[in-house]
């Protein structure tokens, strides 16, 4: 018996197994690709072929009734990817250092100042670059920054980002036993608030998010309030606006104080 030819129409095992499998596949395909899609309420297909294409997962044009609604304010046009602005050259850093002379009044000679403006020394280059572009395109509004960036070219902003990223961050002088407030370490999951540290460096870093340690408390508090009120809206995907809106004033104060107290 074992010498039988397997692939043969005379072999009942072959005809039955292939026949039954094919029948199941065909019946399931007819049901899944034609009959069930046509039973769907609210789906508008241009005939059965359109229904089959939809069930097969082909990309189809959106129905003409639902136009894409654009934002009625300026949004950032920086596409942030983790790999951008890596490996700056010494020339780029040098050009950035020259360009940065115009920034020293507020941001300090070496990216650190007491002026309640953000400290830029050691900040991620993606963050610096994105904020500069946003100031230039007015996606982020600032009466002080707007005229200063107006004449910067894209390459200038990349050089500035490279320079500030190159400067050393201030050393961490705080004790490691310093317990972060709950909003920083845990967030508030039931309100959809991720821990600050999940993006801003305590636990993990996300491209585009700033390194916050040592920033002035009043600056952090003002920015959170601006996100909450919608005055600042250059966060891609609205993640900071969604978080800040749901934070209580106490949480905003605690988070700002925590990061500010860290040198």
């Amino acid at each position: 018996m074992s010498g039988d030819r397997i692939v043969s129409l005379h072999n009942p095992w072959f005809t039955a197994s292939v026949g039954i499998t094919a029948a199941i596949a065909i019946i399931a395909a007819v049901a899944g690709f034609a009959w069930l899609p046509l039973q769907q309420q609210g789906e508008r297909f241009d005939g059965i072929w359109d229904a089959i294409c939809s069930a097969a997962g082909l990309v189809r044009n959106a129905p003409s009734a639902s136009q894409i609604v654009g934002a009625n304010y300026l949004t950032t046009n920086v596409e942030v990817v983790p790999q951008m602005l890596q490996g700056a050259s010494a020339e780029s850093i040098g050009r950035g250092a020259t360009l940065a002379l115009r920034c020293t009044m507020c941001h300090g000679a070496r990216g650190l100042s007491q002026a309640d403006t953000p400290n830029l020394a050691g900040e991620y280059p993606i963050t610096i670059y994105k904020e500069l572009v946003d100031f230039k395109t007015s996606a982020r509004a600032s009466a002080v920054m707007a005229p200063l960036v107006a004449d910067l070219r894209d390459a200038d902003m990349r050089d500035l980002a490279a320079y500030y990223a190159y400067l050393p961050r201030p050393p961490d002088l705080r004790a490691t036993s310093d317990v972060p407030p709950r909003i920083v370490a845990n967030g508030a999951p039931m309100r959809g608030i991720a821990p600050c540290g999940a993006c801003h460096g305590e636990l993990d870093s996300k491209p585009g998010a700033a390194w916050l340690e040592g920033q002035p408390a009043i600056y952090l508090r003002t920015q959170l309030a601006a996100f909450a009120s919608g005055a600042r809206r250059n966060d891609i995907g609205e993640q900071m606006r969604n978080i800040a809106r749901r934070m209580t004033p106490d949480e905003i104060a605690a988070a700002s104080r925590f990061y500010a107290d860290r040198p």
Binding site: D4, W13, A56, P82, W211
Partner: protein
């Protein structure tokens, strides 16, 4: 010196050692995200642990058990030495090397991507290369199973391949083909990005590739368990296998319908068309066929044993079964968990019901009940059954074995039933922190606490398991009689070629894979603009 006994023992000891460590991590995870523990304040530690737990439990532990048990079955059922012993050692070495390569970056926090990889998350390339090495090592086993069977057939023309060997080869083919999906994902999607050769990754396509592996891998885990049901249980309780052919058909059906059904793991994925989701759902339902065939055949075999032992009546024969025999006890407890787990699986495989439990803790509870419960308890039984034949020393602590099996069963039920329940309440999976002080989820605290108790019972059970094995390793030498598998009521004298080989069935398996996966993969490959930037994990600044 390097005989096959040592080789099988090496596989099983490494498998169980990994299992023990991964189990401890799992219990820790259950504890730290329960209300009994203060928040550890670093989710990365939690995901690191989950990655190590999943990688060990899903790739290393069951693969090594299937390999070791497969080599054992080959020698004992074909009654001749294994062909390719040195290749078997090479395969083992690859798995060990791969495991170490994968776990080191995970332990360093450089690859906390969970064992299902979750592109566009990308971790240390060494992690993925380690997983590939584990798979390559297991493919050596797949080849050896095939070579041994065909050499035996060549030397015994026309004779039926012994059923244990037939079933083992079916399991190896299932694994050989199902691992291709994850291998494609790793080699063409993830590893080039992890090595820095590319910046973007087609996460949708990668998920479809992984679904190719993701479901049939469960049936690969299940294979040693099913082989033990058919070939160990009836013999161990003094009965006979109800039908040899029924067993072969069940394994053949697993080979065909367990494979091309993985898109039911991607029901909520937008990149796959609803028609293919339906197709996969239909074939997933067909897996009930070989499962029910097995339930019928094994129950019938057990009834034969009970009646041979004087059992009477419609159900009265149940009391005549040797319940003090660990193999009987383990198989019965496995069946109970398989029943509950299978019922839960019916909900996961149906499109609409799945939507209610998708990505909730229900799913985690489900696969722990099926894999950790129904499958792993039979791994214990297999170890108890074959250990004396590997060590030449008796395992005589039957009471301890029964206590171990019972604690594993009770622990798994106490762990997974509340786990299912909180899933129905909507508790999401893959989260490191739950704020039980919030009134919205405060009610789930009691259920999660119950699961922690279940996890603790499982740890106790695992300790008992190692005590039994270590005692068996140090007991006085007592060479056991020759190993036997179950004999069928009517042992086959000759078989149709279709039931004595795999050519037809492999053709159907590959053909059905092309029907069910061909278009979605080709379409995603051909669609431009589907790649997204990779997100590197483990690069804290």
């Amino acid at each position: 010196m390097w005989n096959s006994r040592r080789m099988v023992l090496a596989h099983l000891w490494f498998a169980f050692a990994g299992f023990g460590l991964a189990l401890s991590l799992g219990a820790w995870q259950m504890f730290v995200r329960s209300p009994l523990s203060a928040w550890i304040s670093d989710p990365e530690l939690y995901y690191r642990s989950v990655t190590a737990h999943g990688t060990t439990m899903a790739y290393v532990f069951p693969t090594l058990v299937a390999m070791g048990f497969g080599y054992f079955v080959t020698e004992k059922s074909l009654s001749r030495p294994l062909i390719g012993l040195s290749w078997a050692w090479i395969g083992f070495a690859l798995v060990v090397l791969g495991t170490i390569a994968a776990i080191v970056p995970v332990a360093l926090g450089r690859a906390s991507v969970l064992y299902t990889f979750y592109p566009p998350l990308v971790g240390d390339p060494l992690y993925y290369i380690g997983v590939v090495l584990v798979v390559v090592g297991s493919w050596v086993w797949v080849a050896l199973m095939s070579i041994n069977m065909y050499r035996w057939k060549r030397d015994n023309p026309g004779a039926p391949v012994p059923f244990p060997m037939f079933a083992t080869v079916a399991g190896s083919y299932l694994w050989g083909w199902t691992a291709v999906g994850a291998a494609l994902e790793l080699l063409f999607q993830i590893i080039p990005v992890a090595l820095g050769l590319r910046d973007t990754i087609d996460a949708g396509l990668a998920r479809v590739f992984f679904s190719w592996t993701l479901h049939a891998i469960v049936y690969f885990w299940l294979m040693p368990t099913y082989i033990a049901y058919y070939t160990i249980l009836p013999r161990a309780i003094g009965g006979r296998l109800f039908s040899d052919s029924m067993g072969r058909i069940a394994f053949i059906l697993f080979l065909i319908v367990a494979m091309p059904i993985g898109i039911h793991h991607a029901f909520e994925d937008p990149q796959v068309g609803a028609g293919f989701k339906y197709l996969h759902s239909v074939f997933t339902a067909l897996v009930a066929l070989p499962t029910l065939l097995t339930v019928f055949t094994i129950c019938a075999s057990v009834e034969i044993a009970a009646r041979l032992r004087g059992g009477k009546g419609l159900l009265g024969w149940l009391s005549a079964l040797p319940w003090d025999n660990p193999v009987m006890l383990g198989a019965a407890l496995s069946f109970v968990m398989l029943g509950f787990g299978g019922a839960g699986g019916l909900i996961n495989m149906s499109y609409q019901l799945n939507a209610t439990v998708h990505n909730t803790q229900w799913v985690t509870g489900h696969f722990h009940l099926i894999f950790g419960g129904a499958i792993v308890i039979m791994y214990f039984v297999i170890a108890y059954d074959i250990w004396p034949h590997l060590t030449g020393r008796a395992l005589d602590r039957l009471g301890l074995m029964r206590a171990q099996l019972w604690t594993w069963f009770v622990g798994m039920i106490v762990l997974t039933f509340p786990w299912h329940w909180v899933g129905i309440l909507g508790m999401p999976r893959r989260m490191a922190f739950y704020d039980y002080s919030d009134p919205t989820i405060a009610a789930q605290a009691a259920s999660v606490t119950m699961s922690v108790v279940g996890a603790a019972i499982l740890v106790v059970s695992a300790v008992l398991f190692f005590v039994v094995l270590v005692r068996g390793q140090t007991a006085p030498r007592a060479e056991p009689p020759a190993y036997r598998f179950s004999v069928a009521v009517h042992p086959p004298r000759s078989l149709p070629a279709a039931l004595n080989g795999f050519g037809l069935w492999l053709g159907l398996m590959v053909g059905l894979t092309i029907v069910n996966y061909g278009f979605p993969i080709a379409h995603l490959l051909a669609t431009p603009g589907t790649a997204v930037p990779a997100v590197n994990v483990g690069q804290r600044q």
